[in-house]
């Protein structure tokens, strides 16, 4: 089944609250909820040591989520966390001449190397936070006290190439949830 953000949000909306929310500590975690891009997982893991002050869940490179995965994300959001979800299951943004950068508009304006970006379709309540060739590839939306950020261009691999702008962007995300 094609996984759209609309479907995902509907699913988490009806999911039962995660039973152990009270047990969650302020932290930054990278969770493999079906990651299909090991580089992304590895890249984010190089960063979490610097993000301990945040309350951030990072879910690298998933083409779809299981019910358990959705419930985990829902629990973090209800806890007021920021969830950074890399979604790689959509259609690639088409381009003629190659262009290398995704334009991030929030929380800081930076250019970061694209990584096979997929186009995201904003649902009501979504704000576009990143574009590639004018197409939305990054969205954010408030979910309860939490913030769900969906990226269609995986950021994790970029950390392995040492792009300071990618680190800055992630740090800003974490700082906002301090």
């Amino acid at each position: 089944m094609r996984f759209s953000r609309r479907i995902f949000l509907g699913a988490v909306g009806v999911a039962p609250a995660f039973a152990s929310v009270e047990g969650l500590q302020r932290s930054c975690e990278v969770l493999d909820l079906g990651c299909v891009l090991p580089e992304s997982l590895a890249g984010f893991k190089t960063q979490v040591g610097d993000l301990r002050h945040g309350d951030v869940l990072i879910v690298p490179a998933v083409p779809a989520l299981t019910q358990a995965g959705k419930e985990t994300i829902q629990a973090w959001l209800e806890h007021g966390a920021t969830v950074l979800l890399e979604y790689v299951g959509g259609a690639r943004v088409e381009q003629g001449a190659y262009f290398p950068y995704v334009e991030y508009l929030w929380p800081v304006r930076v250019k970061i190397r694209e990584f096979a970006p997929v186009q995201l379709t904003p649902a009501p309540g979504d704000e576009i936070i990143a574009t590639f060739l004018g197409q939305p590839v990054g969205l954010r939306r408030k979910v309860g006290d939490g913030l769900l950020i969906t990226l269609g261009s995986p950021l994790g691999p970029v950390f392995l190439t040492g792009d300071p702008d990618a680190r800055r962007w992630l740090n800003e995300i974490a700082e906002r949830n301090r």
Partner: protein, 279 residues
């Protein structure tokens, strides 16, 4: 960003004043002066002569973007012959001196030439050591030495990562990269060079490259902006990414058979579109 032309593009037989007037008419802000290139700027040009150069540049309503040289190909910092090496050091020192006189803060050198007789590792070590010493001289003069990526002509520092490592080894804040986006040919991509070496870029040369011609044959691999294989939107975005906001300098071969001044106008218009991202 500001735009300039190298004075080496001024047609032979033209006076400096006529060339500067043309550069100004194209809407440029400055001129790049090549030590050893045109008759008006040679190693034997006196300090008074350099002051006179500056006066002419000012009278034309321009400033000097940087000081290059044409001498490195015959006397390089990597030369084995101590006399040639000393001559190379001397002309780079002269560039630094004249940069101060000409009120600019950057020079260009082609640092290191690998030949059949002088192997890569020898060139690497000698060039690094000489640049470390010259970096001190440049620091005192508040000038930056930009080593140009001449890649396949130099047969040295062919890749972006190699250049980055070399500058790490030189490890001097006054030694960086004078980035020529037309010199990468088919061994890489200019935008990646910019991204990797970004903070160390002192100046940017622009021209386009016809990759399929390689380095063989008699046809030039170089051409005017937007006619070759460079990915100009990507290059512009990369400069933006590394927050380069300095000089964009046309350094190209004179390719117009007729009306050579037209190449200046066409190139200046292309540079404008490049700077403003209208491509």
């Amino acid at each position: 960003m500001k735009k300039a032309f190298g004075d080496n593009l001024i047609p032979d037989g033209w006076s400096l004043e006529k060339g500067l007037d043309l550069i100004k008419k194209t809407g440029c802000d400055g001129v790049e002066l090549w030590l050893g290139g045109k008759p008006w700027f040679q190693m034997n040009t006196s300090d008074a002569g350099v002051q006179e150069l500056l006066r002419k540049v000012r009278d034309a309503g321009l400033v000097v973007s940087d000081v290059c040289n044409t001498l490195d190909w015959d006397e390089n910092l990597s030369a084995r012959d101590p006399k040639l090496q000393a001559a190379a050091i001397r002309h780079v020192e002269r560039q630094i001196e004249t940069a101060r006189m000409l009120e600019t803060d950057a020079i260009l050198v082609v640092a290191g030439l690998v030949t059949e007789e002088i192997p890569y590792n020898e060139v690497y070590a000698r060039t690094r050591e000489n640049l470390q010493r010259l970096g001190e001289t440049a620091a005192k003069a508040k000038v930056k030495i930009g080593c140009e990526n001449c890649c396949s002509e130099q047969r040295f520092l062919i890749s972006a990562r190699e250049f980055w490592q070399f500058l790490n080894d030189v490890n001097h804040p006054n030694v960086g990269l004078h980035m020529d986006v037309g010199n990468i040919h088919d061994t890489g991509f200019a935008e990646q060079w910019i991204e990797i070496n970004g903070p160390r870029i002192t100046r940017v040369h622009v021209k386009d490259v016809l990759r399929h011609r390689g380095r063989c044959g008699q046809e030039s691999v170089y051409t005017n902006l937007f006619l070759g294989n460079n990915n100009w939107p990507a290059i512009r975005a990369a400069l933006d990414k590394v927050r380069y906001d300095g000089w964009i300098i046309a350094e190209m071969e004179a390719v117009y058979k007729y009306a050579p001044d037209q190449q200046f106008y066409d190139t200046a218009a292309a540079m404008d579109r490049f700077i403003h991202g209208r491509m």
